[in-house]
Amino acid sequence: MTTRVARDRVTGTPFTRGLGIVTIAGIVWLVIFGLFVTPADVNQGETVRIMYAHVPGAWLAYLAFIVTALSSAMYLWRRTRSLTWDRIAGASAEIGVLFMGISLVTGSLWGRLTWGTFWTWDARLTTTAFLFVTYIGYLAVRNLGGTHHQRARRSAVLALLAVLEIPLVHFSVEIWNSLHQEASVAGNTDVTMDGLMLFTLFLGVIVFTLMYVWMLLHRQRALTLEDMLDDTGLDRALAARRTEAGVS
């Protein structure tokens, strides 16, 4: 019994442990390939290596936000109003914000080295920045307080609004940019990739995705435990109140 309870109270399972080992091995592999095995780019030199972290980071952030939107929709759509969907949405958004931050930092470092500027008002970059701020707002709303279901409903509506907002922002910046050709340097930096570089990039995407799933499972379970802590408090407090009433 005690072992069972103890088992329920941790976020790891044999599956996540296995996944964790695979992920760490993948990261080591990616570091070796990205930093040592792949050649420097003809045009960009050594800076191209930033891509092996930047591209998978950005991909992952987008994946994470899509998962947030889908699980928010599931929360609202399913009659059961399962808080599991809400926790997946929240956990995924947290990881998404983290990786979007990483990809914004690596991207602007790369931009400084390659384009000579940290930032450009290109549609993709601008949308990404807006996305980043929007999900910081989403996480702020999750922390407003109230019951679990209040939190879930508010943040689910917000996550779906973000899905509407992002294409609009992207589209408007894109047509805005079409009038300001001089600003878009992003278009003329062709990266000529050989097979090994392409493979490493692909490897990066796989490894980051594994890392995402690994983190998501742990974070989601950690959130479940946080909610459970509130709920187990309830039964004890309920019993305490009943005795209190009986005495008085």
Binding site: A140, V141, L144, V157, S172, L179
Partner: protein
């Protein structure tokens, strides 16, 4: 639902007529922002070029205050909760508050466009005027809907003064872009022709329709918990 919307809008506008908070505080604030821009940019040529953007930037900053005021009315004596507790249709509340907000915004925009003519030497032709009015209407519907939606979400929450800009400013970027470009054409900034402004209204229309429909549906679940 429409009756509720009418009742709520009439109530909000009547309160503004009595208290004149928007007229006496928010509109002067927006005009002040326009004047401060003039100091900061300090060049007639630059001012003339960026006037359309400044008009809409000042509008969007003012939206934050008008939305905050609109929901302060409802939360100081628990009226929003009372409306909710009385089973009043949330869709009606949303539409009513959006309508009142839009009316106040139109008045604000008229003042700001006037100010930009005076302060920044903006110039509006007759055909530019038609474009400008259409732009203002579409942009206003969008801003009022999205403002009411997020205002309702932030209402009564702790730290709402800072939460509202964080939520609202990223969302209204398309309105800022679309309305600014259309206004540039209407003002003839940089020699842009009036006809070049009309395509931008498509963006504003999509935004207005999207957020008024979504807002009407989502407002209930957002405030009702």
């Amino acid at each position: 639902m429409l009756r509720t919307a009418k009742t709520i809008a009439a109530k909000d506008l009547r309160i503004e007529l009595r208290s004149r908070v928007i007229a006496n505080q928010v509109i002067p604030f927006a005009a002040l922002v326009m004047i401060l821009f003039a100091f900061a940019l300090d060049s007639d040529a630059v001012l003339e070029r960026v006037a359309p953007g400044l008009v809409w930037l000042a509008t969007i900053f003012s939206v934050l205050f008008i939305v905050a005021r609109s929901f302060a009315l409802e939360t100081t004596d628990g009226a929003l909760e009372a409306l909710r507790a009385a089973g009043v249709d949330p869709m009606g509340i949303f539409l009513g508050k959006t309508l009142a907000l839009a009316t106040q915004l139109i008045a604000l925009e008229a003042v700001l466009v006037g100010a930009s003519v005076v302060l920044y030497r903006a110039d509006v032709s007759a055909s530019g005027g038609v474009l400008l009015v259409t732009t203002a209407i579409l942009a206003t519907v969008g801003l009022a809907s999205v403002g009411t939606l997020y205002g309702g979400l932030a209402a009564g929450a702790k730290g709402r003064e800072t939460l509202l800009p964080l939520l609202l400013l990223p969302v209204v970027a398309p309105v800022l872009i679309g309305a600014t470009r259309a206004t540039e054409s209407a003002f003839g900034t940089n020699g842009i022709d009036v006809s070049e402004g009309w395509p931008w209204l498509g963006l504003l229309a999509v935004f207005a329709v999207l957020f008024s429909v979504v807002g009407a549906v989502a407002f209930g679940p957002l405030v009702d918990d």
